[in-house]
Assembly symmetry: none
Homo-oligomer: 233 residues x 2
DNA sequence: CCCGTCTTTATAAAATCTTTACACCTTCTT
DNA sequence: AAGAAGGTGTAAAGATTTTATAAAGACGGG
């Protein structure tokens, strides 16, 4: 996966998947002038192939594609592609946005967009995905996650976790401050097909809380968002 | 993308569709002196033709037209026209207003109206249609909605909201400045079939106000439009 | 076969949603 | 301008859904 080393902030490779020629043109010019290497795909199928053959540092994906739905492309990409995917969608399609975020989109932008804003988002997303990779230790409050060693520490002491527990806390830590829906978590940890097994999640969240919270009756790290999911702080 | 650039705030083109000569005259003078370019249509048919031949930045539409009903004009316009349409209606025709808003009107004004208020509404609508580029963080006054993280902040602090409360404030924030009818809100949040449950809405608006308004007896954000719906500012 | 881990079941507790009741405020009528 | 009528705000009780937790059963690697 991380063969595709996103180099220093500029000169990173970006894959654009969009069926509208004028948008592709605009993005090509804009990204080019910002020192990104650009690859273009006009269809979902083409995008999937290009991404697989030559994994970019970031993907810009139009959700309204003609051949395969952008949502489907996103799902297939997310089975292996861990770098940022920014969604482009037409205005006011709230449902599209929610679905896309639930399917693992990093961020989104509504068309029409100002190119300046797009560039800011690209920079921000790349910065994030880099710092994820570079510093293998992420610290949140009294917790430290060592991604390379696959170890969690609380106040310096190793917390003994099972594989699933580790995967879960890792997902939480990497998405600090963001509400993760039950479905999203289940898909990330257990895989597609387990999205209705919310009870698994409850059991493992309870176990994690016993191990990482000072007072597991008043959890400060793993916060319940009733009816939606959990948020890690 | 931004091909249909409505120019800088003034000198934008406005199309007035109204059968009453004295209203047309008044609007012509008022708009003119505010640096808008004005086109006038006396009938619905004429208005549709003018709009199609030369799309304006905003349309002022009288709902009580003699030839085609204003509602019909609105519907036909909304099949392709995405810029603001402000409705003018006679007093006491709340049903007309609600229907128009449901059909995609941006805002409404009851005749007789103060020209100052009309200008304010026009400015507000134009400002919106220019920058309705939803970014993943939308700021309105002291509130910030982070759609990606699914979190609302007030002065930087996270506001604890239930799922329904969040859905509601999200709808409001994404439609800032626009009147949302009870029916529309109920349909968006609870789904079709709940459109007569206006009491739900009152309860949840009250709860939201307690959480986001400085003084919930004098709400500044969620404003009541009596008989019609709510407007978020 | 044993041990650690995952899955499933059961149930108590918590949070949220719905409904009711009533006071209050607007708007319209006279 | 006063009263009536209808719309709105709020608290709180009841109903429902969602969540937490323990503990039993199932599974699989060594």
């Amino acid at each position: 996966m991380s063969t595709s080393s996103s180099l220093s902030t500029s000169s990173a490779e970006i894959l654009v998947i969009d069926d509208e020629p004028q948008i592709r043109k605009l993005l090509q010019i804009t990204l080019d002038s910002n020192n990104y290497k650009v690859n273009l795909a006009a269809t979902g199928k083409e995008g999937l192939i290009l991404a697989a053959n030559h994994p970019p540092a970031l993907i810009l994906l139009d959700i309204g594609l003609p051949d395969i739905s952008g949502h489907e492309v996103l799902k297939q990409l997310r089975e292996w592609f861990t770098h940022p995917i920014i969604i482009l969608s037409v205005q006011n399609s709230e449902q599209d946005i929610v679905t896309a975020l639930d399917n693992g989109a990093t961020d989104y932008l509504s068309k029409p967009f100002r190119t300046g804003e797009l560039m800011a988002r690209i920079r921000s997303s790349l910065r994030h995905s880099q710092s994820d990779n570079l510093s293998s230790i992420i610290t949140v409050g009294d917790l430290q996650l060592d991604i390379v060693a696959r170890v969690l520490r609380k106040n310096g002491e190793v917390v003994k976790l099972t594989a699933t527990e580790y995967n879960l806390i890792s997902l939480f830590v990497r998405n600090e401050g963001k509400v993760l829906t039950h479905q999203y978590i289940l898909r990330e940890i257990w895989g597609v097909g387990f999205q209705s097994e919310t009870q698994y999640l409850r059991v493992f969240v309870a176990q994690l809380r016993k191990k990482i919270e000072d007072n597991h009756n008043h959890p400060k790290h793993i916060v319940t968002e009733s009816g939606v999911g959990y948020r890690f702080c």
